[in-house]
């Protein structure tokens, strides 16, 4: 486990603050951006519209000059009729306006002369010399009657600015003709006055539209034809709709139709590969002027503001992130250090340094809690050490006591006249059970006992009992007297009130007569030579150590050769399973009944131990078990 497994609190907290702040900033920037964008677009639009209006005014100044002069000349012809000196009118008009390159008056068939179908008086000015010459054209080779400049004013009854055309001389200069219909006093149409304007200046004036460096101007005729265009190839060859129709771009087509509708306005219009803001307005003569400003130029101001805003936001967010991260990191550093301290303590360093805290807040509480925890752990560990030491010492002493106790028990049994074997398995290190065997000539003394209580007192009492048994056996008294003597000894100074149940017997190995006394102990099992088992009848005596001077009653029985005695403590019959059911006396009798005749005493003892172990099925023993078997 490491502390760097996930993002730190400071990082997460900083990022969360950053996210919230960024959202607020972005919302603010969007609002400000929209407002400033609209304001700047409006300003750019007004700026471009003003520039275009100026441009249009400059163009119209020339065109209206031509219109005024031509209208005046036309009025003269209309007032005086064909009788006036037409040459002087034509040349006079040509001289009146320097923008004009040719002027003329054309008549309806047979109106000027009865025999002339075509009558056109045309004055032109030599480009080099400036000399004006006037000719009369009356041949059908120049059929002006079907030409736009004649037909349209004739049919509409109004003056008309013709769509520009290239000069007939094949030069690249364009001319546009202003034609005025002529009516006599009765309102009868009789001809058209025309004034040709060179448009060489037009492109030059149009190009003055420079609200921005990259601005471009388009001039479009009433029929959509480009009159002025940055791409000279398109002039008079393409119309405003050519690209839209070629690409079947309905959106662009709608924009172009809006431009051609005659209303001033602004739209986004494709020009080449780029989109432009197109500011457009009509001229008085029906042409359309379009000023193209690249989006970049048009929105330059907005972009500057937006870039500044973006920079401020980005910078602000960076500063906010760094400072908040640093501050939060500083504030939460003790937490990290506490975590390291806790980690150290968990690894066994219970004296790990716990960082001090200057603030009086939650961190201080955490610090104090950690300190208290560290102190408590150290106290507990000290106590634990002492307890462990004591336990170890006691275990050591008990181990020694166990060995001492075991050494008190005989492990080598007499084998002269009887097969005897015994075993004692204490429940703990030391126990209160005992057995002992002494052979004195033809007499075989043995005892099995169980001291009240457990542990060290019981063990000590067991040692005393053993010594008392040995001493009593050596006196040559009857078994009952021996038990009475043992009892009396125990009762003296037995303030603890301890007692011991005893089965004491003495067998004459020659006569097989057994004298015995049962002092409150479990009845001994006797197995006859026929294998039949039963409890040995015994008179009831109290356990030794209870009442001083108690007179114990002994009994005797003659045993048969081949019979067995099984003396035991209550650890056998009271051995429990987990379900608390006990081994019991009937099971013991059953076991004894099943002993094979040829079995030795050792085998009987070991088999009974196995039988009890099997019965308890691993359940923990609570009592010592002692089994002694004598086989005659």
């Amino acid at each position: 486990m490491t502390l760097a497994a996930s993002k730190s609190i400071s990082k997460r907290l900083s990022q969360k603050i950053l996210r919230i702040t960024a959202a607020v900033f972005v919302a603010a920037v969007i609002c400000v951006g929209i407002v400033s964008f609209n304001a700047i677009v409006l300003e750019s639009r007004q700026n471009a519209s003003r520039a275009l209006s100026n441009n249009i005014l400059e163009i119209e100044k020339v065109l209206t000059g031509v219109e005024s002069a031509s209208d005046m000349a036309a009025r003269v012809v209309q007032i005086f009729g064909p009788v006036v000196n037409l040459d002087s009118i034509s040349t006079g008009l040509l001289k009146a306006d320097s923008a004009l390159v040719a002027c003329g008056i054309a008549f309806e068939p047979y109106k000027l002369r009865e025999n002339e179908m075509y009558s056109l008086i045309l004055s032109t000015q030599d480009e080099d010399t400036g000399e004006i010459s006037t000719v009369k054209m009356d041949g059908e080779e120049y059929d002006y009657l079907t030409m736009d400049w004649y037909q349209i004013p004739k049919l509409t009854g109004q003056a008309y600015w013709n769509e520009p055309v290239y000069d007939e001389g094949g030069s690249s200069s364009m001319i546009s003709t202003y034609s005025v219909p002529l009516f006599n006093r009765t309102g009868e149409f009789f001809g058209v006055l025309r004034a040709d304007v060179s448009l060489e200046w037009l492109t030059r004036v149009a190009e003055k539209f420079r609200p921005y460096e990259s601005a471009k101007t388009l001039l479009v005729g009433k029929s959509g034809t480009f009159i002025s265009h940055p791409d000279k190839e398109k002039i008079l060859n393409e119309t405003i709709y050519t690209d839209c129709l070629d690409k079947a771009d309905d959106k662009a087509l709608a924009v172009c139709q809006k431009i051609m509708s005659g209303e001033p306005g602004i739209s986004v219009m494709a020009f080449g590969e780029e989109n432009y803001y197109a500011v457009y307005a009509p001229l008085q003569n029906g042409w359309r002027a379009i000023g193209l400003c690249s989006r970049r130029d048009f929105l330059k101001g907005a972009e500057k503001i937006n870039v500044s805003l973006y920079l401020i936001v980005i910078l602000g967010l960076i500063i906010l992130y760094v400072t908040s991260r640093k501050t939060i990191s500083k504030m939460t550093r003790p937490v990290t250090e506490f975590a390291y301290s806790a980690m150290n303590m968990s690894r066994g360093n219970f004296h790990a340094r716990i960082p001090s805290v200057d603030t009086k807040d939650e961190l201080l509480k955490l610090h104090d809690s950690l300190k208290y925890l560290q102190s408590s752990i150290n106290d507990y560990i000290s106590e634990l050490k002492i307890a462990t030491s004591n336990k170890e010492r006691m275990e050591s002493e008990l181990s020694i006591a166990s060995m001492v106790q075991k050494s008190m028990l005989i492990h080598t049994f007499p084998d002269d006249g009887a097969d005897i074997f015994a075993n004692l398995v204490p429940a703990k290190e030391i126990g209160g059970d005992l057995y002992d065997v002494i052979q004195e000539g033809k007499y075989l003394f043995f005892t099995v006992g169980d001291v009240s209580g457990k542990g060290v007192p019981a063990a000590l009492f067991m040692a005393i009992t053993r010594s008392a048994f040995r001493f009593a056996a050596s006196l040559g008294l009857s078994v009952a007297e021996s038990v009475s003597r043992i009892n009396d000894n125990f009762c003296v100074g037995n303030e603890e009130g301890m007692f011991v149940t005893l089965f004491v017997a003495r067998i004459n190995l020659e006569t097989l007569e057994m004298e015995y006394c049962n002092a409150g102990h479990n009845p001994v099992v006797i197995v006859g030579p026929d294998g039949k088992a039963d409890f040995l009848r015994a008179k009831s005596n109290i356990a030794a150590g209870l009442f001083q001077g108690f007179s114990y009653v002994g009994e005797s029985v003659r045993l048969e050769k081949g019979s067995r005695l099984i003396a035991y403590t209550d650890g056998v019959t009271e051995a429990e399973k987990k379900n608390k059911s006990q081994y019991g006396e009937s099971r013991l009798i059953g076991f004894a009944s099943g002993i094979k005749p040829e079995s030795t005493s050792r085998e009987v003892v070991e088999n009974l131990f196995d039988s009890v172990r099997e019965f308890t099925d691993g359940n923990e023993r609570n009592d010592d078990i002692t089994i002694l078997t004598v086989t005659l």
Binding site: E140, E141, D143, L145, T146, M147, D148, Q151, I152, K154, L155, T156, Y160, N162, E163, Y166, G170, K222, S223, G224, T225, K234, L236, N237, E238, T239, I240, Y241, T242, D243, C244, L245, D246, L253, C256, Q257, M260
Partner: protein
Amino acid sequence: MKKLLTFSLLSAFCCTLASGQQKISFMPNWIDQAQFAGFYLAYEKGFYAEEGLDVTIRHMKQGSSRSSLDYLEKGEVDICTSQLIASMIERGKGKKIVNVLQLAQNTGLMLVSRTPLKSFRDIEGKKVGRWKSAYFEIAEIFCNDYKINVDWITYLNDVNIFISGAVDATLCFSYHEYFNLLFAKGSIPEDHTLKFSELGYNFPEDAVFTTDSFYQNNREAVEKFTRATKRGWEYAAKNREEALEVVMEYVKKNNVATNRPMQRFMLDEILNLQVNSQSGKADFKKVEERVVNMLNDALMNLDEEYRPVIYKDFIK
């Protein structure tokens, strides 16, 4: 493309010198445009030269008041294009011209109105623009048949007179003037148009003509010319972009005010008009005698002085 032109010219020149190719002057009935793409392709791809012809293509001047048939009749060119009905009228007047190749099997004549037309009778009494001397005959026959009176206004150019409102409607060809109007207005609603082909007046249109005498004296050369011309049109139909390139070269060379999209539209429509509705392909089928007779009757109804043409003398 310049290299191609130079190469073609050189090839033609060398072939002429080497084999004594027959010279033929040919005049389309209008200025350079995709309407004549098949002739340009036949020339540029060397189909005429392969037939042993040294063809010179001579265009009319823009705004010229003379027709191609006039140039033909006066012997200024050997072969020209014109329209079937216009040529019948000229032959009826006594001009010895013959139809040697019928190109367009359908008419592209149509009428575009400034206002919606609920019925063709809506043009009654309206000022309708038309060309000065010819090509409007189907409209005249139509109006004569239905007793519709219109005020015909002759013009040189349909666009400005229409846009300015000087006329209420104008005649135009679906491959040319219609696109002029379309490119001037951006869009033309369907209900502003009348197509004479859809009104039961779908007569063959563009064709190749020569004089009786030239045909009799140079029959083999005329056949070679028409054969190569067919190849030129077939090539143009299969290679439209290449054909368009050639058309634009001609257009630029002669300073014609037009543009590539316009010429593309024109080429597509011209090729459509060449498709025979019966066979479903451009088969350059000769005009049938019944069609000539039908037109003779219609023209006589139109003009009592019209003298009907004799089919076998006129259609070769």
